[in-house]
């Protein structure tokens, strides 16, 4: 074994007894290490053998067939909400995919809003205004210290359940409706020429990257800054709009409308999704605000003083000098916050939002009894999701990291 000698090994080698004769073999650290590890492995192997053995006997006794054959059988139940079409005659594999997409959806919404909330409140902690500082501290300390599940319940059972019924729902400009059944928004339905508009949107997105590198190059050469935010916004909104105008607006708007006891048409955002995303964003936002605060505090005071002395305005000091340096501390913390947000999205099971955990470990397990298979598949998905977040954030981290000279 090629490894550094430990102090134990050196001690053993330099002990007078070791130099004369080898000493008792059981005092040799290497032999001891081998002995302990063998013991450990034998113990573990026995443990797993016992578990597998018991599991197989138990499964046989309760008549459960192991294996993934159940994935191709019809599920036989409906799912409250799915991003792809789903019938109760579809297979368990499709249940799995529907659940997976719903998990991705709620996690993405959660991460997006948690990041925004976190950065707003994290930066607000350093405001000159005492009220803003206090609000920021209060937000973090209140929402960090209340169990997430309680917050989910609070939004779901106490706030959203108290909304008016469909007949007297809150309406915003007669287009967006909010009631106890959910949030109803208009939906754009594309007709014949709409593909062109989508292509234009794609071109605009690519254009932003081109614009960014061009603006950076120009700033390095001439020092002139380009209003990148407005430029990108103009590109991404303007170009598709222009194409749409030239192709005679190939869209119709599908407004939600009250029919009978419920709203039909448009996009429906079910209250379960709203409650879960609200709770995840607010809870995650509190932790991210802490991370942002820690990051900004880690930037030496001299940096902002130097920036002030060359005449930068306060908001520019934050965005150009302090936050970019704070990102070195913030990004690794964000990484773990995002991962725990994805894991926390399993709380969907508590209010019945059909995420992967709920439809698969919850319902599918109940119906098929395939405990080991369903839990195994679900856990693997969460592992992979977390690894992907970790990978992306590490890539991002390489960008913000201090490059040594």
């Amino acid at each position: 074994m090629f490894q550094k000698k430990t102090t134990e090994q050196i001690k053993a080698a330099t002990r007078p007894s070791a130099q004369k004769k080898a000493g008792a073999f059981y005092n040799n650290p290497q032999i001891r290490a081998i002995f302990y590890q063998t013991l450990l492995v034998v113990g573990l192997l026995y443990f797993f053998y016992a578990i597998v053995n018991n599991t197989l006997t138990n499964m046989e006794a309760s008549g459960i067939k192991s294996g993934f054959g159940f994935l191709s059988t019809a599920a036989g139940y409906d799912i409250l909400m799915s991003l792809i079409s789903f019938e109760s005659t579809d297979t368990y594999l499709r249940v799995f995919i529907v659940g997976f997409l719903n998990t991705i959806l709620v996690s993405a919404i959660g991460i997006f809003f948690a990041t925004i909330l976190g950065f707003i409140f994290g930066v607000a902690y350093f405001s000159k205004n005492w009220l803003i500082r206090t609000i920021s501290t209060a937000y973090v300390e209140i929402f960090r210290n209340i169990p997430l599940l309680l917050q989910v319940f609070f939004w779901y059972f106490a706030v959203l359940a108290a909304l008016p019924g469909p007949r007297d729902s809150l309406s915003f400009g007669e287009a967006i409706f909010l009631n106890v059944r959910g949030l109803f928004t208009p939906k754009l339905v594309g007709s014949d020429g709409s593909t062109l508009v989508y292509i234009a949107l794609g071109i605009a997105v690519v254009g932003i990257f081109v614009l960014r590198s061009w603006a950076k190059k120009r700033q390095e050469l001439t020092g002139q800054q380009f209003p990148l935010l407005w430029g990108s916004l103009g590109l991404v909104i303007g170009l598709p709009l222009l194409v749409a105008l030239f192709t005679d607006l190939p869209f119709t708007v599908d407004y939600p409308a009250l029919k009978g006891f419920s709203f039909k048409g448009g996009i429906t955002i079910i209250p379960e999704l709203m409650a879960l995303s609200l709770a995840l964003s607010v809870y995650g936002g509190a932790f991210i605000a802490e991370a942002v605060r820690a990051g900004i505090q880690s930037v030496p005071k001299g940096q902002s003083e130097a920036a002030r002395s060359i005449g930068l305005k306060e908001n520019k000091i934050m965005s150009l000098v302090v936050v970019p340096q704070a990102m070195r501390v913030i990004v690794p913390l964000l990484n773990s916050e995002y991962q725990s947000l994805v894991k926390n999205s399993t709380l969907a099971a508590a209010i019945g939002y059909p995420d992967l955990f709920n439809v698969f470990v919850g319902t599918a397990l109940n119906q098929t009894g395939q405990a080991i298979e369903t839990i195994f598949m679900t856990i693997i998905v969460y592992f992979i999701l977390n690894m992907m977040i970790s990978f992306l954030m590490n890539r991002f981290n390489n960008n913000v990291e201090l490059t040594g000279r």
Binding site: Q37, T57, I142, L148, F153, F154, T378, Y382
Partner: protein
């Protein structure tokens, strides 16, 4: 001195009294100017925030205190204008003790007092035998509590685990889990730092597994998969299974806390222990462990807060902890008046006070440790 100087007082230097601070740079007005109205945009923000609070806070105070109903027998005493604290009053025993047998509540209280005493003793006992005494005390505490609550071993009335519940269960469960997770996490952390490749990789796998999967999945594994692992006929109590789940979940996180602690202990300490010829376990238990516990105390507390918040998840597999009890209360046919907001606000407050208190304590310990280093 005074008497000597008294006759020369006329010649003595008398400083002119200090001038008052320039107007608007000290005192309340200056504070308001600096912190609330330092610029136009700040003033606008301040006014908006104040306007918001003025419009919202009186309503909340009215709801929670002035129009609220504090006493009464049932929900007919309540009105819709104010909070119905009667609801909390009526259910307070359930919320705190679950459905534990009426005359036996002292047993739950005794467990909580024992827990408090053990925690206090670990801070106040003389240093010479503090660790030697309080570590074993902590480790036997969960089992003593189980014996007291269960009652059969001590010849008390038997109370089935189905009746344990309420907030006391949240507290005791969290405490029992973190206490038993100490030895596990300590071993895993040692394993992760070990030179033995097999021990190291097994520790890494265990730690990352229990940190990487959602707690809820762990709970489901505990309630659905764990019974399959035992040989046929063994019936392990639901609470014990949940306890096991919490212990392992906690061990994963605590192992990382301890790893940080091990790394924070200066290398000289390890070398000094080696140089006086201590064995591995002597070195680890007598020299390193006390320092690790001290250094990682703030992180241990933070991890405990996380565990404490996660005890709410017990409700998902149907264990009547406080939130589950609240939901039962809300669906009780005598209390169908929609008191969800009162109930949740109450449970919010309880959890918030506990968790916020612990995080304040954690930051205080952290500050104390900081000054230690500077000395």
């Amino acid at each position: 001195m005074m008497s000597n100087n008294s006759n020369t007082a006329s010649r003595q230097f008398v400083p002119t009294p200090a001038q008052p601070a320039p107007n608007m740079s000290a005192g309340f007005v200056a504070w308001v100017r600096d912190n609330l109205f330092s610029s136009i945009s700040n003033s606008i923000i301040t006014l908006i925030v104040i306007a918001f609070f003025v419009s919202v806070i009186p309503g909340i105070i009215d709801w929670a205190f002035i129009s609220a109903t504090w006493s009464g027998a049932d929900q007919s005493a309540c009105n819709k204008e104010g909070a119905c604290w009667v609801f909390i009053n009526a259910w307070s025993q359930q919320l705190f003790y679950g459905s534990y047998t009426d005359g036996e509540l002292w047993r739950v209280n005794l467990c909580l007092i024992l827990l408090a005493l053990t925690v206090i003793s670990s801070f106040t006992l003389p240093k010479s035998f503090r660790l030697k005494l309080s570590i074993p005390l902590f480790l036997v505490l969960p089992f003593i509590c189980i014996a007291i609550l269960d009652g059969r071993l001590l010849g008390l009335e038997y109370v089935d685990t189905d009746y344990w519940g309420g907030f006391s269960l949240n507290i005791l469960m969290a405490a029992a889990a973190i206490i038993i997770s100490f030895p596990f996490s300590f071993l895993w952390a040692l394993g992760r730092r070990s030179q033995m490749p097999l021990a190291r990789s097994i520790s890494v796998i265990l730690i990352e597994f229990f940190r990487g999967i959602p707690v809820l999945a762990l709970f489901f594994m505990g309630s659905v998969m764990l019974p399959m692992f035992f040989s046929e006929g063994t019936n392990v109590d639901k609470l014990i299974r949940v306890w096991l789940v919490l212990i392992f979940f906690m061990s994963g996180y605590m192992a990382e806390v301890f790893r940080g602690g091990f790394q924070a202990v200066p290398k000289g300490q390890y070398e000094a222990a080696d140089s006086v010829g201590l064995s591995y376990w002597q070195k680890t238990l007598l020299i390193i462990l006390p320092q690790v516990i001290k250094v990682s105390m703030p992180n241990i507390l933070a991890t405990f807060v996380m565990l404490f918040k996660n005890t709410v998840f017990l409700l998902i597999i149907g264990i009547p902890e406080i939130v589950q009890t609240l939901q039962t209360a809300l669906s009780n046919s005598n209390w169908l008046g929609g008191w969800a907001i009162e109930g949740y606000v109450f449970v919010f407050l309880i959890f918030w006070v506990c968790c916020f208190g612990m995080s304040l304590l954690a930051s205080k310990i952290e500050r104390d440790l900081d000054t230690d280093k500077r000395d």
